[in-house]
Amino acid sequence: MRDVAIIGASMTQFGQRDAWIRELLAEAGDACLDDAGVEPSALDHLYVSNMASGEFEGMTGVPNALAHDLGALGAYTQRVDQTSSSGGAGIYAAWQSIASGASDATLLVGGEKMTHKTTAESTDVIASLTHPAEYKHGVTLPSFAGLTARHYLERFDAPRESLAKVAVKNHENGTRNPHAQFQKEVDLETVLDSPIVADPLRLYDFCPITDGSAALMLVPAEEAESYVDRADDYAVISGVAGATDTHVVHERDDPTVMSGVVESGERAFDMAGLEPDDVDVAELHDMFTILEFLQMEGLGFAEHGEAWEHVEAGETEMDGDLPINTSGGLKSKGHPLGASGVAQGVEIYEQIVGEAGPRQVDADVALACNVGGFGNCVITTILEAAA
């Protein structure tokens, strides 16, 4: 297997956009080729992470459309759908294409167009991933979050405020991200007084519905220097791995453990030869505030039932021991399903190469955890600075 490098990244403005899926993907893909200094004709593989363009827009076959619109005809194209973790799964697919030798230049573009639907309709498209025995009860992903949050708070005697502090932190980080959907701070009272969505969770415990796209350019690490201006201006994918948990959420032995997070994390750390302590900055899939706790614990950043204590102590803030979601996370950046995992990759790439601007922290090792469904499928990616 060859080592794989990321040599370029881009993301569009996230939020409510006039553009449709093809335009969003083309915008991010074009900008990423520019950022990497790669001609579209040089692409061997082109991957598109997208959950539901057919369901949202009645538009299918988007990878082929993107190849045509980007001037990359001839490239092998493939759509990667793993629901909310389509983006992370795209990183894994793109990594495989280079590592295996099948491709010498792979562009990954993730995107989703959602905001033209009502919140109820979008929620239903996402909830269509559930088992019939779940779907007929009207369950939504936010309901799973409410069920899990209550269990977590009761079992570990954690204060409700600790979840709200995740939202406050990620909103504050989002003020430094010009691409974020929300670039405004919220205070604890605003979160705790916002309307109930899935008791005990409230509006500000949830990410918004978002249009947007993000892209990464991957090449063999041994060729990375020939593309970049500065010798260290690229990141190496030192670990990437995925895992699945039950489709039916109530069949999990422990509702507070996401085994897909645990297993994908262990595999990614194994591959990288690293430990949780080695990570300098992390992007976690905060579709709901409670997920940040479950991922911190599943990835080994905190003991089971103790993540809330680290958040209360400020350890996950920008100046803490382990800054989490410097990008603003899904919470303030927004969550265009297929784009989110790629956008996590964009943030940790920028942290590693020193291009994160006002969000920059000191980082040689960065991790992203992208969660599909309610932990149903998970991809963990670890990036390291060029040697």
Binding site: D124, H131, A133, Y135, H137, V139, G146, A198
Partner: protein
Amino acid sequence: MSDHDSTHGDDEPRIREGHLSGDDLTAYVCTNGHATFPGHQRCPTCGESQDAELDLSETRAEVVTWTTSTATPPGVREPNHLAIVEFDLDAALEASQDFTAGTVQGPVRTLAQLTTGDVESGDVVAPTYVEELREPGAGIREPDSQSWDGYRFEPVES
């Protein structure tokens, strides 16, 4: 590829009509005694086939956790009280003619609507049949692809 698959012994496809659907409140039990609701083509724990059934439609359960959802999708009541409940497996086995106690491993749980939001974790609840839990065809799921009746759970004196 593998010759370990001989335990099933025949070349007939194992058709699981209804088995994977979760249509009925029935646990499916594999040859090693692992029980799940809903059923699966192979046991998620050991990979053997799930050949036995355990009716749960009259079995009481305990609320593991609950929520009230106020942002519900098309065709779903609002507010929607939901819980994950864990069945009293011993009681279900005792009521069944087909199993002896201790031969089936749980826990067996379900996600389900509650008749009320006035519950607490640990409360005992019982299933009560409802002809339509959610309006077929209002949401994105093909109406004919699944059932829409089922059981809500209501608090009972323990």
